[in-house]
């Protein structure tokens, strides 16, 4: 059980700090309320009137998904780059197979117009 003691201590310190901050802020801080402070965003901009069911351009989402595809590809290339001399031809072939597989997804996005912004 003693291996968990540091974790518990750290959790207690974290919770204690959060409690201390909230309570000390409430006691010591000035409490002057005005309209701006009670708004959803303190910067003063009103939340949009649009309902949640409204349309949001899908382009941002597609770009983010495409980014994830290549991000994962790079993440996967790193360990191979570290050990490519040990894995030899096997590693090279497997990596080519992997990159080809990722390119299938890329080609799908490209052909289906996912890269066109307008």
């Amino acid at each position: 059980m003693n291996v968990y003691t540091p974790v518990l201590v750290l959790a207690a310190i974290g919770a204690g700090f959060a409690l201390f901050s909230i309570i000390s802020g409430a006691i010591a801080g000035p409490s002057r309320y005005n309209r701006a402070l009670l708004d959803a965003y303190e910067c003063g901009i009103d939340p949009t009137e649009r309902k949640a069911a409204g349309k949001i351009p899908i382009k941002y989402f597609l770009t983010a998904m495409l980014f994830i595809i290549f991000d994962i590809e790079i993440v996967f290339l790193y360990p191979w780059a570290v050990a490519f001399d040990q894995l030899g031809l096997f590693g090279l072939v497997e990596m080519i197979v992997f990159i080809l597989t990722v390119f299938v997804a890329y080609m799908y996005v490209w052909r289906r117009g996912g890269l066109e912004w307008d």
Binding site: Q86, F90, G91, V104, M107, R111, R112
Partner: protein, 519 residues
């Protein structure tokens, strides 16, 4: 603490992969990738044909590869995958069931010129965009690669021999299914609701599975099933981690098979998904998930059976009773079949409780009987239609036997098999799981099972009475003429149901020979 070796030489050995045994999974994956390329590069008019060639070609070549992959049991892919009787049997069953279900996907004759899938899934239901796509008879064919990806995960799921491989297989099989559930052309909102519910609850249960795997790793210091079993046999300390791990993993797997109290998604998803997709996933997902469940409980958690047997027995009884009692009250055909599939999960769990080789062979046989009867029954549901699409309400089925005796007789056959009436495949299947359970001393569970079967018999027979001995209430109901593919699919399902009912020895012997897990 594990220290890193000083020398890095040989730290990353080249893994040994048995491509011959992995071929069925890899072939289906390659077919799925080809399907994506077809979607990307071929003009819309040519896609349908190409997808048919790719998917049926892929599935059949994978089946042939499985046939020639050899029967030597062993642990392959550096211990991550088991190559044994149950794995081969279930992979073959999943491939055959997929072919039969894919035949249903192709039907464009029931609703002339259109198939069961939405022309553009992202179009807002009821919008002008959707209207114009429907009028122009636009069809999308993305369902084929998606379903193939799902099949590849299903092939891997019952063969996975460690928790990580099992999780990857679980996700590969689930993610495409979440999308497929939302693709119904009719009743778009219901379909989207089904997809969202399935996705949220499925992701939730995956998290349970993953958390349980972490607990088990903390206990056994390994994710490999054989090493988990060895750890449970040797050490008695810190059993808390093991029990929490078994509990969490059970939740994840029991969700996938739709066992009570984790069954709530089943009726909504089965009802909302396109009926052909429901046929596909009700049959194949249950086969794959039961394979994985049985393997993990027999191989990894076998030595600590006294810890989980009571729990799984109670869940089995609960699932049977919840399934049949809720099925009694349903007014909707697809929901009734969904609750019936929940009840079948309960019957199958009695085979898990048996915890013997006989239990495994009974489960394998039961899955064959259940799979074909399910695809057949949902296939018939696609045929019976009213003005708005499929006639979902039970009252629309009244008097069907007078108008189309053939279709009604076929549906009755599948229902009788699900009820477990002799001379259909359901009878030897139910008999096998119950006798395996009773041989292992779970007599009270068998009694509950027999009572549940009697209640189940009532609502199956009620539909048959409705079809043959009741006058039709309205004349809106029509029975569509199916395409050749659907007809073949239904004929195969009916054939298997009758042959295994009349000559169960054929199936039971094969299942017996395939019932030994490698450890």
């Amino acid at each position: 603490m594990m220290g890193l070796p000083a020398a890095t030489q040989g730290l990353f050995p080249v893994p040994q992969l048995e491509y011959q045994n992995l071929a069925p999974v890899l072939i289906v994956l390659v077919a799925a990738l080809l399907g994506v390329l077809v979607e990307a590069f071929l003009p819309r008019a040519a896609r349908f044909r190409a997808q048919l060639v790719v998917s049926f070609g892929g599935l059949l070549i994978a089946l042939a590869a499985l046939f020639f992959a050899g029967n030597t049991d062993g642990v392959i892919a550096e211990g991550a995958i088991a190559w044994d009787g149950p794995a081969r049997f279930l992979q073959g069953l999943i491939l055959v069931l997929s072919v039969v279900a894919f035949l249903l996907f192709t039907d464009r004759k029931i609703d002339p010129g259109r198939d069961a899938f939405a022309p553009r899934v992202s179009a807002i239901p009821g919008s002008a965009e959707e209207q114009s796509l429907t009028e122009k008879l636009v069809q999308q064919t993305e369902v084929y690669p998606l379903a193939l990806f799902s099949v590849s995960g299903m092939l891997l799921f019952p063969a996975a021999n460690d928790l990580l491989m099992m999780f990857v297989a679980l996700e590969v099989l689930s993610l495409p299914l979440y999308l497929l559930a939302g693709m119904a052309r009719r009743r778009r909102l219901l379909s989207q609701e089904a997809a969202l519910k399935y996705f949220l609850l499925g992701a939730y249960s995956s998290a349970f599975f993953l958390f349980g795997s972490a607990m088990i790793y903390g206990y056994a210091n390994s994710l490999r099933f054989s090493e988990i079993a060895a750890a449970t046999a040797s050490q008695s300390a810190s059993e808390g981690l093991l029990l929490v791990g078994i509990g969490l993993i059970s939740v994840g797997l029991l969700f996938k098979i739709g066992a009570a109290p984790f069954h709530e998604w089943t009726p909504d998803v089965y009802q909302g998904a396109p009926t052909v997709i429901t046929a596909f996933m009700a049959a194949t997902t249950k086969v794959a998930a039961f394979g994985a469940l049985v393997r993990i409980f027999y191989v990894a958690f076998g030595p600590v059976r006294e810890q989980w047997l009571p729990l799984i027995s109670v869940i089995s009884a609960l699932t049977m009773l919840v399934g049949v009692i809720f099925a009694l009250t349903q007014r909707e055909m697809k929901r009734m079949l969904a609750y019936s599939s929940i009840a079948h999960a309960g019957f199958l769990l009695t085979g898990v409780v048996a915890l013997s080789q006989k239990g495994v062979s009974a489960i394998l046989f039961y899955l064959v009987a259940y799979g074909f009867a399910t695809i057949g029954a949902f296939g018939i549901v696609t045929l019976v239609r009213d003005g708005a699409g499929e006639a979902s309400d039970l009252s629309a089925w009244a008097g069907l036997g007078k108008r189309s005796p053939g279709v009604a007789a076929l549906f009755s056959l599948f229902l009788l098999s699900m009820a477990g009436i002799p001379l259909t495949a359901g009878f030897p299947a139910k008999f096998a799981v119950f006798s395996a359970a009773s041989a292992s001393g779970a007599s009270w569970l068998v009694i509950v099972g027999v009572i549940a079967s009697a209640i189940a018999g009532f609502f199956y027979v009620r539909v048959i009475v409705l079809m043959f001995f009741t006058d039709p209430q309205d004349d809106n109901t029509t029975v569509a003429i199916p395409s050749l593919a659907t007809a073949i699919s239904l004929a195969v399902c009916a054939g298997v149901t009758i042959v295994l009912g009349v000559l169960p020895q054929i199936g039971l012997e094969v299942a017996d020979r395939a019932s030994l897990f490698i450890r």
